[in-house]
């Protein structure tokens, strides 16, 4: 008899495996996003002792706990505000927020636009599943017009956000959108984001068959992935204002990649200048 060798997955060192199995439903895209994220960490050889993963409330909010880094799971909508304090207090830390569309853009929308405006160096990975999954499928700020949710039983009458346009208009230095179908491009984008200064934003369109899809003729994860495949159009560096998600079109790609001094750099430079002046006065 040959003894069975227990092999450890090469990426499991990036995960808190003692928290597995995860809480996500079959067909959910969150696992794909987490997979792409840890691949990016691995390919870049990110110093895990200097990484802080922050999440808000919602299904994807559990990512902070699942990643084996310093991690913090905040109140609903406040991950960006919390991370702003972390980054400013210790600019050496690499801070990634992984959270959902409802958390970041409904209850947390104000923090998002102000963090982008300030250009604080935090990296936001937003998983957009078009609804509030954890509470059972209510409408949110990204729910498409006419979509059925538990709180829009007659069809949604609200116009959704175009998140990449919002991020670009608010001042983000890197903006991209992919779906969970685009795993290689998403991983590449996460790597790009991790190497940049300033406020960065990636939107990942992700299937939620269990509570969103099944009410909208997309019963399985596969149905949703097929829709993403059929509707996705890669238009790199196209105008994000024209990237509204419509029933037959999801524009994906990188939209913005610019250089701009980050808030924490500008602020800490000022502190250094003030103290140099003070030293001159003393000596």
């Amino acid at each position: 008899m040959v003894a069975k060798e227990i092999l450890e997955h090469p990426l499991s060192k990036y995960l808190r495996t003692d928290l597995m199995p995860h809480i996500w439903c079959p067909g959910c895209g969150n696992g794909i996003v987490l997979n792409c994220f840890v691949h990016a960490l691995d390919e870049l050889k990110v110093d895990m002792d200097k990484l802080v993963v922050v999440s808000g409330i919602g299904c994807i909010g559990r990512t902070a706990g699942y990643t084996y880094a310093a991690s913090f799971h905040t109140t609903h909508g406040r991950s960006i505000a919390f991370a702003t304090g972390v980054k400013l207090a210790n600019p050496e830390l690499n801070i990634v927020i992984v959270s959902g569309d409802g958390d970041l853009f409904a209850i947390g929308g104000n923090h998002f636009i102000h963090a982008a405006r300030r250009n604080i160096g935090i990296k936001v990975l937003c998983v957009n599943n078009f609804n509030y999954g954890m509470t059972g499928g209510q409408l949110g700020p990204t729910t498409p017009l006419d979509a059925i949710t538990t709180t829009s039983p007659y069809g949604n009458s609200e116009h959704p956000f175009n998140l990449v346009h919002l991020a670009a208009a608010s001042g983000a230095t890197y903006v991209a959108r992919w779906t969970t179908l685009h795993v290689r491009r998403l991983t590449m984008s996460i790597k790009r984001m991790l190497q940049k200064d300033g406020f960065c934003f990636i939107e990942v369109i992700s299937p939620c068959p269990e509570v969103f899809g099944r009410r909208n003729k997309l019963r399985t994860g596969l149905d949703m992935m097929e829709l993403f495949k059929k509707n996705s159009v890669v238009e790199s560096f196209s105008d994000p204002a024209k990237a509204d998600i419509t029933p037959d079109r999801i524009v994906v790609g990188e939209f913005i990649d610019i250089q701009k001094l980050s808030y924490e750099k500008l602020f800490h430079e000022k502190i250094a200048q003030i103290n140099e002046k003070a030293m001159e006065q003393v000596s």
Binding site: F72, L88, N90, H111, H114, N275
Partner: protein
């Protein structure tokens, strides 16, 4: 982050907001996040100038919700952190104060009380947030709240608030009022050597053995900072000693919430400070705090001059409430008088502890605080 400039050691003529800001600097606070609001704005203004001189951070956030969240974030990097606000902003901070309680983030929240509810009277004093300070966030928990009566105490109690926050890993509040905040008085700032400064306990075990929410005997867990190699998780969810969510476990919930309360309750004797004036033989005792205690002290002295056995009990610590002090005076006093600038908040605590001893409540708000004469007349009526 070493400061190139020094503390303003020596005697100064300052207003309470500035004294508070200097107290924060002296205590080692190096992170302030806030949002402008009367009558606390001068704390932010002063710290926007002073913090950078010490290598510290000032950030004006988009609202008070964000301010409180940023304070928690900075606290988790190891910096002593604070915010300052007034009633409306204090209300907005409550959910994240709860997160600070649950994740045991040391921090200081200054609430300069004005008249409420809602926008109320932005430029006038009040004592209407005492219960909000204790009960404002949902769930069961304990916090610490201090009540300064003078500009000097706006300095010393701010230092004390940081020391308590660091000792017990708990959001600690300084409940000032518009008068102590805007009044100008002499403040003596000690030299750095004379100041007692407390820093949080750090882990003594290597990262692989560290359990972020495993308490020591004092019920307080040592705290690692982000970036130090301790790759721990913290969450507002009910969590075990690993910091891992255990939302279905009644045992974990009971153990955690019980400890969060007990670490303050069991240490109440060490935390609580009161000022006692001629209480030994007093049969009329005034219980007053904040600016009102200044009038009460004057009234008690005048009453003594008239031969009335009057005394003053001034809670410097409002939360945890000095129950045993009130119980003790209730045994000897014929009457307890509680003047407050609200419709009755601390008086409820006094009544609870006084049991059968009569408690007279003097409510006054929307204008100047009680005058010494008003309190003296009440003492005379109850002699």
């Amino acid at each position: 982050m070493t400061g190139k400039r020094s503390l303003l050691s020596g005697a100064h003529f300052l207003n309470g907001d500035v004294a508070c800001a200097e107290g924060a600097i002296a205590a080692g606070c190096r992170f302030f996040a806030g949002y402008p609001i009367t009558p606390a704005t001068e704390i932010a203004e002063h710290l926007s100038e002073r913090m950078p001189e010490f290598g510290g951070i000032y950030i004006q956030m988009e609202d008070e919700i964000a301010s409180m969240a940023a304070v928690l974030g900075a606290s988790y990097t190891g910096l002593k952190s604070m915010t300052a606000t007034s009633g409306p902003g204090f209300s907005l901070m409550q959910e994240n104060i709860g997160l600070g309680v649950m994740t045991e983030a040391p921090c200081v929240i200054v609430d300069i009380m004005r008249g409420g509810p809602s926008t109320g009277q932005p430029t006038l004093p009040g004592q209407q947030d005492v219960m909000q300070a204790k009960w404002g966030s949902h769930g069961d928990y304990e916090i610490i709240a201090l009540s300064p009566s003078s500009v000097q105490e706006m300095f010393t109690l701010t230092v004390e608030a940081f020391n308590l926050a660091e000792t017990y890993r708990v959001p600690t509040m300084l409940l000032g009022d518009e008068i102590v905040a805007h009044m100008w008085e002499k403040v003596v700032i000690p030299s750095p050597e004379q100041l007692k400064i407390v820093n949080r306990k750090k882990p003594t075990v290597p990262p692989e053995e560290y359990l972020p929410f495993k308490p020591d005997e004092d019920l307080v867990p040592p705290m690692a900072s982000f970036g130090e190699g301790y790759r721990f998780h913290a969450t507002g969810l009910t969590h075990d000693e690993h910091g891992y969510p255990q939302t279905q476990s009644s045992e974990t919930q009971f153990k955690l919430v019980h400890r969060l309360c007990e670490k303050i309750r069991k240490n109440a004797d060490k935390i609580i400070r009161v000022e006692e004036v001629t209480l030994d033989d007093a049969d009329v005792v005034v219980v007053a705090y904040g600016i009102v205690a200044r009038s009460a002290l004057s009234a008690v002295r005048k009453a003594r001059a008239e031969g009335i056995k009057a005394g003053l009990l001034r809670p410097i610590t409002l939360w945890p409430f000095p129950e045993t002090h009130v119980e003790r005076i209730a045994k000897q006093a014929k009457t307890i008088i509680v003047p407050e600038m609200n419709c009755g908040q601390v008086v409820r605590e006094v009544e609870r502890c006084a049991k059968t001893t009569p408690v007279v409540f003097m409510s006054k708000f929307g204008e100047d605080p009680h005058t010494p004469l008003e309190i003296l007349e009440e003492i005379r009526r109850n002699r």
